[in-house]
């Protein structure tokens, strides 16, 4: 049974492009152009994954409201914001509302599809027993490559897929400096430098919630970031 994806996007041409691209990947797609229709659809049946635009026609935060509605119905349903709005505030708001990821629209369809696939793989993997060979261990850090999950000192971190890829990119070669461009490429995102900085800050904060002495992600000014293995 193919996975069902719902796309809520007010721009018709874009919606159709997304629908066609994802249909080619073998997903079953439903799409809505506005909040009311989407809410109506969600009340009948929940899909396996939702792609949400934030601004829906005249409702500039329609997407956020839909996200809130969906989270009430299902705490585990993967929700990805796919929007033209790229401000830090919007990213933070979206992720706070319980979205699993936040993508800006300049992501290529290939990257989008890869990300959607990764999500489904992660959901599947969560239902499978843990496979050790897919794990990456760096000191206190444990990355599960299948489930896209991260834990520090045995405690799992609530992270988005983008954040997982950022951590993975850094931790794969400890000590090596990764430039922002490399990080963007590995996280399948196209953003500016300060957005990367914001992402890194959020990741650090999440580690710090578990361990307030966390300093493994080191800023190398003028170049980028690196993972320090010897930390803690």
């Amino acid at each position: 049974m193919s996975k069902r994806i719902t796309i809520v996007e007010d721009e018709e041409a874009l919606r159709k492009n997304y629908v066609e691209a994802l249909q080619k990947q073998g997903y079953e797609i439903t799409s809505y152009a506005d909040r009311a229709a989407a809410a109506e659809g969600f009340s009948q049946q929940l899909p396996d994954l939702v792609l949400l635009d934030i601004g829906l026609n005249d409702e500039i935060e329609g997407g956020f409201e839909l996200c809130r509605l969906l989270r009430q119905q299902s705490p585990t349903l993967p929700i990805i914001f796919l929007t033209a709005r790229d401000s830090d505030l919007d990213i933070v708001s979206g992720l706070r509302l319980g979205a699993d990821d936040y993508l800006t629209k300049d992501i290529s369809l290939v990257n989008l599809c890869a990300r959607v696939a990764a999500f489904f793989r992660r959901i599947d993997a969560l239902q499978q027993p843990q496979a050790d060979e897919q794990q990456l261990k760096r000191g206190e850090l444990l990355l599960d490559m299948n489930r896209y999950s991260v834990s520090w000192r045995g405690q799992p971190l609530e992270i988005s897929l983008t954040e997982f890829w950022l951590i993975h990119c850094l931790a794969r070669h400890p000590g090596h400096v990764k430039s922002r461009e490399q990080l963007m490429k590995d996280a399948h995102i196209v953003v500016d430098d300060s957005t990367i900085t914001s992402h890194i800050k959020r990741v650090r904060k999440k580690f710090a919630e578990i361990d307030d002495t966390f300093t493994a992600i080191d800023s190398v000014y003028g170049m980028g970031y690196r993972w320090l293995e010897s930390s803690s």
Binding site: A13, S87, S108, L109, D192, Y221, G222, M223
Partner: protein
């Protein structure tokens, strides 16, 4: 010239007010004078008519006209007090104003006379100034070989009588009748004349002679002379002073003894403070009454004020002396003792017309109006009647009004000028303040900092302030629009670009012919570039948001910069970087964000590498002085155009002339400015010479750093 100067200059037109007032007063004065003249002419006309009815009275006095104005004439006024014939001046003291020269001085001989009469006698006192008094020799019978007096008269019968008085010693003197032959006084006296009495007194400068002559002896002609003889041997007359020719009966001067009836009549006709004259056709006084009071009744308050005048009023008095018409000095008012009136008014009256004549006296501020009218008897002019009045009240009134008005206008002028000055000062202060506020609203970098204008007042300056405020408001909105335009644009462009990109992505590339694939690839490249442009465009907006939420931490600047330089050496392997850090700048911490500082350095270095001349180093140095950490980034290369220096750090301003591979939107240095402001620092850019280059200096203050 400021507003103040201009207003002051304008206020000078106020000076026309006192001038107009002065003109008004002058015309008022002329009106008052005319009114006064008319009044007096009316009165003198009535008096002339009354006089015409007194033919008898006039006949007593009107002498035969000789038509010779030069012939001497004596009008003898009555005496109010008895005279002691003693040669002393005491009892003549109150008649001081009657003193006149007897005649023209001759050599060193000077004679002053006072005359008067009571009911019976004519009294004459002569004060003679003579350096060498020669007394009559006791051995000689002659009385013409010593200093002597000559009296000549027509007696009541019309006979010519000559008398001479000389003395051996001072004391009582006797007059001798002389032979009446003229031009022959070298004669012996005929006999003494006991009715004429005299006293001869020695005085400091000569001698004094007082003479008493019965009125019954004197007809209508009388002359008196003083002969000065210095050589008793030959008896030559050295000098002679005379009221008239005493030798020739035809040249004898006329005399009129004042007539009580005439005086009584004139006293009835005249008013207080005025003097009345009656003359014959030869202008000889035949009657007069009244005296002019010397001064005027000043009001006591003015007197009081004058006794203790404030300095201001003294100054003003001096000033008025200069500008106001003042009576001329030196006019000797001897008219009260005059025996002959000679002035234009009398001349006109004798010609048949009444006329007023103004004259000033030696007394300052005193003007006298003299009005004469002909007296007719049987349609023939027999003389004139004149009335004289002290009209100084007009001049005084006029001067007072002028002074009061001038004082008022000067006060008004000063007050107005003061008020104008204060007003102008206030205006220029407000305009200055507005200008300063407008100046302060726009910083050196051309950015609108704050709009704090005083715009409460409802007048034009308030309006100007409000219009400046709204102008600045709109300008700042426009600036804001420019600053946010890139992010808005990137946001708006993102959706259509995504449509193009997703459409290209959706093309099934396997089904395309190789040529189409190439086109799709090119389209994709274009889209990627477009995307990176959009990313850069929104970078500044993202940074603004980041800064809003950025937490400050204390960090070591030199470590961050050092790390950055190390990074740049890796990132730009072809570029040489010189890094210097002064000892004092080592391990200085500031409050801020190391990430943001690094981002700032990225932008500066990115900029520097773009402009750096080939094979020239980029110099990065840190120095510390006076609580300021300055970070300098210098590159050799083209200098900045001067006109761009102020706006270089604004959004969407770029001076790049050459096309470069990466898109430049003029946002890099705007980001630099944002981060600098976050650190409360200053960024400046300078051109350097030899070799040409550009230096960016970032100054960071050490607020709470330790």
């Amino acid at each position: 010239m400021g507003i103040r100067g201009k207003l002051l200059l304008t206020s000078l037109t106020l000076l026309v007010v006192p001038w107009l007032g002065y003109q008004y007063i002058l015309s008022l004065e002329s009106y008052l004078r005319t009114a006064h003249e008319d009044k007096l002419i009316d009165r003198v006309t009535i008096m002339a008519a009354v006089m015409s009815g007194q033919q008898k009275l006039l006949d007593n006095h009107v002498t035969i006209s000789t038509a010779d104005n030069t012939q001497s004439h004596l009008y003898i006024r009555s005496l109010q007090t008895p005279i002691q014939l003693d040669g002393y001046m005491d009892d003549w003291q109150q008649y001081k104003n009657r003193e006149r020269p007897l005649g023209n001085n001759s050599g060193d001989l000077e004679v002053l006379q006072r005359m008067g009469h009571d009911k019976d006698f004519l009294y004459v006192v002569l004060r003679i100034k003579d350096d060498h008094v020669v007394y009559r020799s006791p051995k000689s019978l002659r009385i013409d070989r010593s200093d002597h007096l000559r009296l000549s008269m027509l007696d009541n019968e019309g006979d010519f009588r000559r008398y001479q008085i000389a003395t051996i010693i001072p004391g009582a003197v006797t007059a001798y009748l002389m032979p009446s032959q003229s031009n022959n006084h070298h004669l012996l006296p005929l006999r003494p004349e006991p009715r004429i009495k005299g006293e001869w007194k020695y005085s400091q400068h000569g001698y004094t002679v007082e003479i008493q002559i019965p009125l019954s002896m004197i007809g209508n002609k009388f002359s008196i002379a003083v002969a000065d003889i210095d050589d008793a041997e030959n008896g030559d007359v050295k000098n002679i002073v005379a009221s008239g020719n005493t030798e020739d009966v035809r040249a004898l001067g006329s005399i009129i003894i004042s007539d009580p009836k005439m005086e009584a009549l004139l006293n009835q006709l005249k008013t207080n403070n005025s003097r009345t004259w009656v003359t014959d056709t030869d202008r000889r006084v035949i009657g007069m009454a009244g005296e002019l009071t010397e001064g005027f009744d000043d009001d006591p308050i003015a007197q009081q004020n004058q006794s203790n005048p404030p300095p201001f009023s003294v100054l003003m008095k001096l000033f008025y002396r200069l500008i106001l018409e003042q009576p001329v000095n030196g006019f000797n008012d001897q008219l009260s003792s005059a025996s002959r009136l000679d002035n234009p008014a009398i001349s006109t009256a004798l010609a048949g017309n009444p006329r007023a004549y103004w004259r000033t006296t030696e007394h300052r501020d005193t003007t006298v109006i003299f009005v004469a009218h002909p007296v007719y008897i049987d349609d023939k002019i027999v003389g004139t009647i004149a009335i004289e009045e002290n009209s100084n009240s007009i001049l005084i009134l006029q001067n007072r009004v002028i002074e009061a008005m001038a004082n008022m206008s000067i006060l008004t002028f000063l007050l107005t000028v003061g008020v104008l000055l204060a007003f102008a000062t206030r205006l220029s202060f407000r305009i200055h303040r507005l200008r300063n506020q407008v100046d302060a609203s726009i910083g050196d970098d051309g950015k609108i900092q704050s709009i704090k204008l005083h715009t409460k007042s409802s007048d034009e300056i308030g309006d100007l302030g409000r219009s400046f405020a709204s102008m600045l408001q709109r300008l700042s909105q426009y600036n804001r629009y420019l600053e946010t335009m890139s992010s808005k644009l990137s946001h708006e462009l993102r959706t259509p670009i995504t449509i193009v990109r997703s459409s290209l992505d959706n093309l099934d590339q396997t089904k395309l012919d190789p040529q189409s694939i190439t086109y799709v690839q090119r389209a994709n490249e274009g889209i990627t570039r477009l995307n990176s442009i959009l990313t850069r465009m929104s970078e500044a907006t993202h940074l603004e948001q980041t800064i809003l939420h950025e937490k400050r931490e204390s960090f070591c600047v030199s470590k961050v910069i050092e790390a950055c330089v190390a990074g740049y050496r890796l990132a730009y392997p072809l570029q040489r970087f010189d890094y210097r850090c002064s000892n004092s700048a080592q391990s200085i911490n500031i409050d801020g964000s190391p990430e943001l500082l690094a981002q700032l350095m990225d932008k500066l270095v990115d900029n520097a590498t773009d402009f750096a001349k080939e094979n020239s180093p980029i110099t990065i140095s840190i120095e510390y002085s006076e609580d300021n950490l300055s970070i300098t980034v210098h590159n050799q290369g083209p200098t900045l155009p001067a006109e761009m220096r102020g706006s270089l750090f604004d959004s969407m301003v770029s001076v790049r002339q050459h096309k470069t591979s990466a898109p430049h939107l003029g946002l890099g240095l705007y980001i630099v400015r944002l981060i600098t402001e976050f650190h409360r620092g200053d960024i400046e850019v300078h051109n350097t010479n030899s070799p040409d280059g550009v230096t960016f200096i970032l100054a960071l203050p050490l607020y709470n750093a330790h």
